[in-house]
Symmetry: C2
Subunit: 237 residues, 2 copies
DNA sequence: GAGTGGTCTAGACCACCCT
DNA sequence: GGGTGGTCTAGACCACTCA
């Protein structure tokens, strides 16, 4: 028995996981250390190998540990760090601030796809696109401008939808619930279009999220979300 | 048997998972649909309940499905969307562009913690802090300015470390490998300090990441990373 | 109360890959 | 070749929560 684990509790993959994690975080098992095998740990903790297996699998998913057959499980030298951001529905995000959520459709037009946007949506030149500009506010304070393009080739029923009362996001979630998404975050300069809506001056820095959505391999919609002054996206991990 | 699944393959939680996912994404099992129970699915797929269980657990973790005892498993109305960003080491990030990674220590000073920063690090007024300003470049092109504060109360050995050749990140990863982290992303205006380093004009918008790191409940370091023009953080999910 | 998911066990076989 | 993780099974008991 090379390990000096304290099998204070029996069973439960959570117990095993917590023990091992503590040991690593405290430095007792430093980077590159090869951990005892599953059978040995199972004996140490007095549980089945499957239980240890699940604990270790989860630690591996969290990037703390790295596993390979035959080589065994070792503590990662550079922990694989991953931040997770839940992608909130604007409405919920604003509601969480305690302010009432307000929505307004600012502009709506149908136009022909062209240039970069057409490429982004994988459209043939001239294909029709529905463009919507919306404002989401927290009470009286503007929160986010949504500038959205929807491919009418992919989603013709969007042409008839009423976006004056409800945000396109909510309609889209119902229409295309499970899709593939690419998001980017970047800093930009507030332009003359969004500035007035956000009560900001042209030239101020704004935090922008861009999102393109595909469904079954076909581009559905692209959106540019420009946030009001002072916006931060925060997470812990 | 209410399901008409096609148990084309036997066993394997991956097969079960893929089948169920396809069914949901295609719309055959729409939002709010209650899926068949584990025992039924196990019979359908001709495998053990544990196998189905694992498949469903993973789908739940991915936010596609929601499970409750007694109530069963149902398709989420609003898919719980989570974007994951791997937190890259700058060096790797730059190396991936094909350019050589270059590092330069711009400034180093020891000062007394004060104001917002002291609070952020949970320091008593007057506690010593090591402040480092570094520049990371992709070949000749500046990439990111790192403005870092390290609590000397928490990590006294940082005072003696040599940061002229290697970035503090690498030293810190070795010193405090597993820690708790809070990150924020925001848009800011390029200031007079970082502007020249990034070959940017004061007033240009910059993408900023701020990160605070704790170890065993104690704040260790805080860093502000200011990215050069055109930086985007992108992910798919 | 009863039905669902949540977890554990003991045993088995397999796939990979280091030595 | 052999040792490690990866997965599956069959059965069991438990915990939660809905009706």
């Amino acid at each position: 028995m090379t390990t000096a684990a304290t099998p204070s509790d029996k069973g439960s993959f959570r117990v095993v996981k917590a023990h091992v994690r503590t040991r690593i975080e405290s430095g007792a098992w430093g980077p590159e250390t090869v951990l005892p095998g599953e059978v040995e740990l199972a004996a140490t903790f007095g549980c089945a190998r499957a239980t240890v297996s699940r604990a270790m699998r989860e630690l591996a998913e969290e990037g703390i540990v790295e596993r390979r057959r035959k080589a065994g499980t070792r503590v990662r030298a550079v922990p694989l760090r991953e931040a997770r951001f839940s992608i909130p529905i604007v409405r919920d995000q604003i509601a969480a601030t305690g302010n009432p959520y307000r929505y307004r459709l600012v502009a709506r037009e149908v136009l022909a796809a062209a240039g970069r946007l057409g490429q982004r949506l994988g459209l043939e030149p001239g294909a029709e696109v529905l463009r919507l500009t919306c404002l989401h506010s927290a009470g009286p304070a503007p929160w986010q401008v949504e500038d959205r393009w929807i491919s009418l080739a992919a989603l013709p029923q969007a042409a008839g939808a009423d976006f004056t009362r409800h945000a396109p996001t909510e309609w889209l979630i119902a229409a295309v619930p499970y899709s593939q998404v690419e998001v980017s975050f970047l800093a930009a300069t507030c332009d003359a279009r969004t500035g007035p809506l956000l009560a900001m001056n042209a030239g101020e820095p704004v935090f922008v999220a861009e999102r393109t959505t595909w469904w079954q391999g076909r581009a559905i919609t692209h959106v540019r979300l420009t946030h009001a002054r002072g916006y931060r996206m925060t997470t812990r991990y």
